[in-house]
C-alpha cells in the first residue's frame, strides 16, 4: 500500500486536529474556577443569587472562547482541509 503525499498530509491534519482540541483544558479550568467561586458567593450571600448567576455565565462564556478557537482549528483541519 503506497502512501502518497496527500495521505500523509491528511494523517498529519488529523493529528493536528487532535492536538488543537487540547485547548479545551484551559476553558475547563477557567470555568471550574468561576463556578466554584460563584458557589462560594451564593453560600455567603444567597440573596444575590440571580446577579451572581448571570455574572458567572457571562464570565464562563467569555472564557470559553479560546477553547472554541481550538475547536474551530480542528474543524478546519478535518473538513475544509486547507493544506491539501
Amino acid at each position: 500500500m503506497g502512501i502518497t503525499g496527500e495521505d500523509l498530509i491528511l494523517a498529519c491534519s488529523a493529528i493536528g486536529a487532535g492536538l488543537a482540541v487540547i485547548a479545551g483544558i484551559g476553558p475547563g479550568i477557567g470555568q471550574g474556577i468561576a463556578a466554584g467561586h460563584a458557589a462560594a458567593a451564593v453560600g455567603r450571600n444567597p440573596g444575590a443569587r440571580g446577579e451572581i448567576m448571570s455574572t458567572m455565565l457571562l464570565g464562563q462564556a467569555v472564557a470559553e472562547t479560546t477553547g472554541l478557537y481550538g475547536l474551530l482549528v480542528a474543524m478546519l483541519l478535518l473538513f475544509v482541509k486547507p493544506l491539501v
Binding site: L10, L57, A61, E64, L68, Y69, M75, F79, K81, V84
Partner: protein, 245 residues
C-alpha cells in the same frame, strides 16, 4: 478519497454541512442559495407570523388576559427586564433592537430541535450580527462622546500625546465583532456536529436518548449563547453611550 476512512466505517450519512440548493450569476460572481438561507427564512416566517398574531391580539387587549396575551406580555416583560438591568437609563434606546435579536438568535439556535440546520451555525449569519454590534458601538461612541475623549480612550494607559498603545487598542476594538461572532458560531456548530455524529455513527441505537443531547446542545447551550451575545452587545454599547464626565 478524503472520506475513504469515514465511509468504510459505515458512516456515510453523517451530515452537518451546508448544502447549496441552486446558484445564479450576479455581476460575474456565482451566488449560492444554501440550506442556511432556507432555514433562516423559515425562522423569520415563524417570527413574522407570531408578530402579526400578537399585534392583532394586543390591539384588542383584554383587562383579564387570555393565555396568548399572557405569554406575549411575559416575553416582553422579561426582555425589558434584562435590558433595563444592564443598561439602566440608556435602556430605551436599545430595547427594541436587543429584543428583536434575542428572539431571532434564540429561535435560530433551537431550530435544530425541529430538524432544521441552525442558521447561526453558518458563519455568514453570525458575522452579520457581530458587525451590527460593531457599528452600533462606534456610531454611538461618536454620537455621545467628544473626539478628544475617544482619542484619550484609544491611547488609554498612556497619556494622549504618546500614542504607543493606539495600535493595540485598535486591534482590541476590531477583535470585538470577530470574537462575538466566532463564539456564537462555534458553540452552535459544535452542538450541530455532535448531534450529527450521534445520529450518523450510532444510528442503530439512537432511539430515545438523543433527546437529552438535544435538550443540552439546542435548548441549554442555545439559550446561554443567546443571553451572552445580547449581554455583551448591551455592555459594549452602554460603555460607548456613557460619556465620562
Amino acid at each position: 478519497m478524503n472520506n475513504a476512512i469515514l465511509l468504510s466505517s459505515g458512516a456515510d450519512d453523517i451530515d452537518f454541512m451546508i448544502h447549496g440548493l441552486f446558484s445564479y450569476e450576479l455581476f460575474g460572481h456565482t451566488v449560492w442559495i444554501t440550506t442556511s438561507h432556507v432555514c433562516i427564512l423559515i425562522v423569520m416566517l415563524t417570527l413574522i407570523v407570531f408578530a402579526f398574531i400578537a399585534n392583532r391580539k394586543l390591539k384588542r387587549a383584554a383587562e383579564v388576559p387570555d393565555t396568548f396575551q399572557n405569554i406575549t406580555e411575559l416575553i416582553v416583560e422579561k426582555l425589558d427586564g434584562i435590558v433595563v438591568g444592564v443598561m439602566g437609563k440608556n435602556a430605551s434606546k436599545l430595547v427594541n433592537y436587543i429584543s428583536t435579536i434575542f428572539i431571532f438568535i434564540l429561535m435560530s439556535n433551537i431550530s435544530g430541535l425541529f430538524g432544521l440546520r441552525p442558521p447561526t451555525a453558518d458563519y455568514g449569519t453570525t458575522l452579520a450580527l457581530g458587525l451590527i454590534t460593531f457599528f452600533l458601538i462606534h456610531i454611538n461612541q461618536f454620537r455621545y462622546q467628544k473626539p478628544k475623549q475617544i482619542w484619550r480612550d484609544m491611547c488609554s494607559p498612556l497619556p494622549p500625546w504618546l500614542p504607543i498603545w493606539f495600535p493595540i487598542n485598535l486591534i482590541s476594538e476590531i477583535a470585538v465583532p470577530i470574537s462575538l461572532s466566532l463564539r456564537l458560531f462555534a458553540n452552535v456548530l459544535s452542538g450541530t456536529v455532535m448531534i450529527a455524529l450521534v445520529y450518523g455513527l450510532l444510528s442503530k441505537i439512537a432511539v430515545i436518548w438523543p433527546a437529552a443531547l438535544h435538550v443540552y446542545f439546542d435548548l441549554f447551550s442555545g439559550a446561554i449563547q443567546t443571553y451572552v451575545f445580547c449581554m455583551l452587545t448591551m455592555t459594549y454599547v452602554n460603555q460607548a453611550m456613557d460619556a465620562e464626565e
